[in-house]
Amino acid sequence: MSDYTVTKVLDCKGLACPMPIVKLSQEMTKLKVGDVVEMLSTDPGSLADVPSWAKATGQAVIENKQEGGVIHFFVKRQK
């Protein structure tokens, strides 16, 4: 699953709704199209929120995994 390289790690650990998607959306504007950001979150709501955010904004969640209470999202800027 490593056919992409992570451009930036965005730490949203400990943040509560709506901050994870606020931070993610702001980070997105700094990335170039095709870049991948790895976002870390401890908010269980993110599991539903990040894909929903991606669908609404036209970005792509290419992978997500959970490690010891931390959710890792790999989000690619599509446009």
Partner: protein, 178 residues
């Protein structure tokens, strides 16, 4: 009838349809802390999702926009009474339930801090950063004797009436009343 003409007509009808724009219009009528928190979370979340957000503060909601540091004179008796009775700004709002003479509200604020939930101050700051627009209802302000000069400094603050809201709401994909 040829297809091209029909398509053109269809496109015209689609363009004239209400609710097609990626906008959120919300009326914030309540002056309860819990409801305003919910409203501000939805507003900042929507802005993060790329929506253009406009909040219409009216009636009890209006007092949340008062700036406790600003003092204005020239109010009549009723204006002074309202000014005294209503919360002076977003940090003086009370919970709609379990306020318990201030104890419940203080406890919730403490819990929010512990759980890292954004405060009203932080939510307003984020809203300003994301370009969330705020419209204060002119009639509510006038009714309760409030003045524009005692309202917070916010980058996208204007006043307006019902037509401002309706004009916006009819072209918004989402409309909420809180």
């Amino acid at each position: 009838m040829d297809v091209e003409k029909e398509l053109l007509q269809l496109k015209e009808r689609l363009d004239a349809m209400p609710g097609k724009e990626n906008k959120l219009s919300m009326v914030i009528f309540s002056g309860d802390l819990d409801k305003q928190l919910g409203a501000m979370i939805i507003a900042t979340g929507a802005a993060a999702m790329g929506m253009q957000v406009r909040l219409f503060f009216t009636f009890w909601g209006t007092a949340a926009l008062r700036d406790p540091a600003k003092k204005v004179g020239g109010k009549n008796f009723m204006g002074k009474m309202f000014g005294f009775m209503l919360p002076k700004g977003r940090n003086k709002l009370k919970l709609s339930q379990m306020h318990m003479a201030g104890l419940g509200t203080a406890m919730l604020k403490d819990l929010m801090k512990k759980k890292n939930v954004s405060s009203m101050d932080q939510l307003f700051e984020i809203a300003g950063m994301l370009g969330v627009q705020i419209v204060i209802c002119e009639m509510s302000m006038d009714l309760m004797g409030m003045k524009k000069e005692e309202m917070i400094d916010y980058p996208y603050l204007t006043t307006g009436g019902v037509a401002t809201f309706l004009g916006d709401a009819r072209e918004s994909a989402i409309q909420l009343f809180i």
